[in-house]
Symmetry: C2
Subunit: 109 residues, 2 copies
DNA sequence: AATTTTTATCGCAAATATGCGATATTATAT
DNA sequence: ATATAATATCGCATATTTGCGATAAAAATT
């Protein structure tokens, strides 16, 4: 395969088209979509930068390839912190969760 | 009631006793405990700083008081991002998730 | 101390995420 | 083009979270 999976890649492009194009009011929910994308992207980035296939990471945390694929799908919305911690932990990372004001410029976007 | 609920308050104190006292090797998992605590604490802080009771916040996001109480329990471990987003959103906050190296000094903890 | 408000805890039903094999799709290599 | 490897998707069983009422425990108010 090439560098990036279709799902994760396309999501970036689809974002604007889907949420901004003709419905400026939906811009609010864009925030949420961005977060979802970021999570998928972060998992993908962590995994590939560690040089692992989905199957390898899956084995590492005791699950199967299809599960990892699902988590890296930008449209997937059901992330649990437990699962994120499992993935992060396997790669010597940790999960940071922050509740920040919607408007404020975030830590270092 | 006083300022802080028993559960959330005590957790701070219990932490050291439980995880460090006689078992230095468990210090690793302390990271995870801290994260859990932070989430409970963040929800609590957000809610009280908004001047809401658990029942009021519950109604705001379409659930019941006992659910909020459960989420503010520092020992609770089953947070989902969906739930966090619901709470954050109701108070005009957003959820930021970051996977950061276990060792590195994080963004601005 | 009695009343009222708020929070914690329990039990169980309903909703959602995970586990996982099978297979299709896509990419890479030959 | 063929073979191989990686990823995406489907369906269904299992596990976990959420929903929610009831009640206990704790705190605030009078």
């Amino acid at each position: 395969m090439k560098k990036k999976s279709k799902t994760t890649t396309d999501a970036v492009k689809i974002l604007h088209k889907t949420f901004i194009k003709d419905d400026p009011k939906r811009l609010a929910s864009l925030q949420e979509e961005r977060e979802k994308l970021k999570i998928a992207g972060q998992i993908y980035q962590l995994r590939t930068q560690a040089g692992l296939s989905q199957a390898q990471l899956a084995k590492l945390i005791g699950t199967t390839q299809s599960v990892i694929s699902r988590l890296e799908d930008a449209d997937y919305n059901g992330h649990s912190l437990n699962m994120l911690r499992r993935i992060a932990g396997a790669l010597h990372y940790k999960v940071e969760v922050r509740l920040v004001p919607e408007n404020a410029a975030s830590a270092r976007g």
